[in-house]
Symmetry: C2
Subunit: 283 residues, 2 copies
């Protein structure tokens, strides 16, 4: 019987646990500092049993799925405790800090820095579901710092989840993900804030919100507990992306002020190619 | 046989034509200055026949579904030509300018200023589909300027399309819609632009784009030909909403710079209530 310990039973940890638990050759032990999460995870069948951090000592696989600010220290404690053949990976959205903190750890080779790019705007064990990872991208950083056998074990597990794994340096990952993920969360949160401020009559928002607004503001429903440490841990890249974004909004504003029809048109037309890129029709 | 003339055979005009044509007691005449749109509309069965602007002379209903900048003048020409009992309505996303331009027209009573809030990020006749308007909100502005019988005819038609109609002053409509719709298009377009600029390697965008980014950037696929005149016609409100948005982004940026965890958290947490509002759970 293989023993998998999942630390953090929220959307991502919980969804991983659900899918990995399907193999009856495995026991999934859930660990979470919130007793409510633990109770829910058991009730929802997310984990076979609930344990504490000591459960990692004889685990085959340990998954660290806690908020970004806790990942480096929790992963370090796990590495301090595990046996020689245990695979440990985290699923955080920022990779440079954890990789730096662990780079001289005697068990660094047991660790794989992963970022399965999957999620929804919901959080907690009740948001977890089977299939969250199917056909999604997984990014593994600094893979050469992981032991070959350990890395293969991780790749096999991501294959089993039907993820497509690519490799990247941690600093590159953090830079790109700031633009492609973190910035959209901020743009969405601030859009929601702006609309809430201007519309004291909330019924107006409900009545006038088309599918466009709903889609653009969807991420403003996300968990502040998850996103606050991500923005702060990836501060430099997030600030850079925010600056670029604000600069673009300012220039667009200026073009509208000047009623420069053609430039307003062209700026949007040039951006339309995001469609082909997202559809996978890269030129 | 009732004669309905639809001027502008894009997403909105085309989708209206498709649903209204289902009643075999009606002939739908499509009018569009683009011969390609006309050809496609016929081929796709959007209209029974193609006509020109003279077709409105003996029409029962005329729908003006052209880009925002053309709505006032096209609607005015239509009112110049129609008979006494014709209902004319437009479907534009900006209402004050057209209402002002038509307010002293001898046929003002034949006109209903409507804004069915429905659409997708796609455009042209090929984007039109049956059911676009089902369960959506329709806003009618300055309804007292319309003749009671004409207004009832319009309400009946929106009922038939299964829309929920509400009433609003034109200036109020334009203010609210700037925040709830126009601003989200700009935030999405500029998000797309920012990511395209920072990511010369388009494969990175495709690979790293999670469902969150896809949702937030969806509106950046929208038609520049449709949105340029909307932003310019609703300039004052759009600029005000953009200013508020940029101000909020700047303060959020400052909080991240200062690493004010708690304030970053609170700002997001306060915005989370957009979820209840959009779900219709208004406190």
């Amino acid at each position: 019987m293989k023993k998998i310990v999942v630390i953090g039973l929220g959307l991502v940890g919980g969804s991983l646990a659900i899918d990995l638990k399907k193999n009856s050759q495995r026991t999934v032990i859930g660990v979470d500092k919130s007793p409510i999460h633990c109770k829910k995870a058991l009730a929802l069948g997310i984990a076979n049993e609930i344990g504490d951090i000591h459960a990692v000592a004889d685990a085959d696989i340990v998954i660290v799925a806690v908020p970004a600010d806790a990942i480096p220290s929790v992963t370090e404690s796990v590495l301090d405790t595990i046996g020689d053949n245990t695979l440990v990976f985290d699923v955080g959205s920022v990779k440079e800090q954890v990789c730096n903190q662990l780079k001289d750890h005697p068990k660094r080779k047991n660790y794989v820095a992963a970022h399965p790019i999957a999620g929804t705007e919901f959080s907690g064990p009740e948001a977890a579901f089977s299939g969250l990872f199917t056909n999604k991208i997984n990014i593994i950083c600094e893979q050469k710092a992981s032991d070959k056998t350990i890395l293969d074990k991780a790749l096999q597990l991501f294959d089993e989840l039907q993820m497509r794994t690519t490799f990247m340096q941690a600093d590159e990952h953090d830079k790109h993900i700031a633009y492609v993920s973190h910035l959209s969360h901020i743009s969405s949160f601030m859009l929601g804030k702006t609309v809430l401020e201007i519309e004291p009559d909330e019924e107006n928002i409900f009545n006038m919100a088309g599918s466009g607004f709903r889609s653009t503001v969807r991420l403003a429903k996300s968990s502040p507990a998850m996103w606050t440490p991500i923005f702060l841990q990836n501060k430099a890249n997030v600030l850079k992306s925010l600056n670029e974004y604000i600069k673009n909004l300012e220039s667009f504003k200026m073009l509208i002020e000047q009623e420069s029809n053609e430039d307003v048109f062209t700026m949007m037309q040039n951006t339309n190619r995001i469609k082909n890129i997202l559809d996978g029709i890269v030129k």
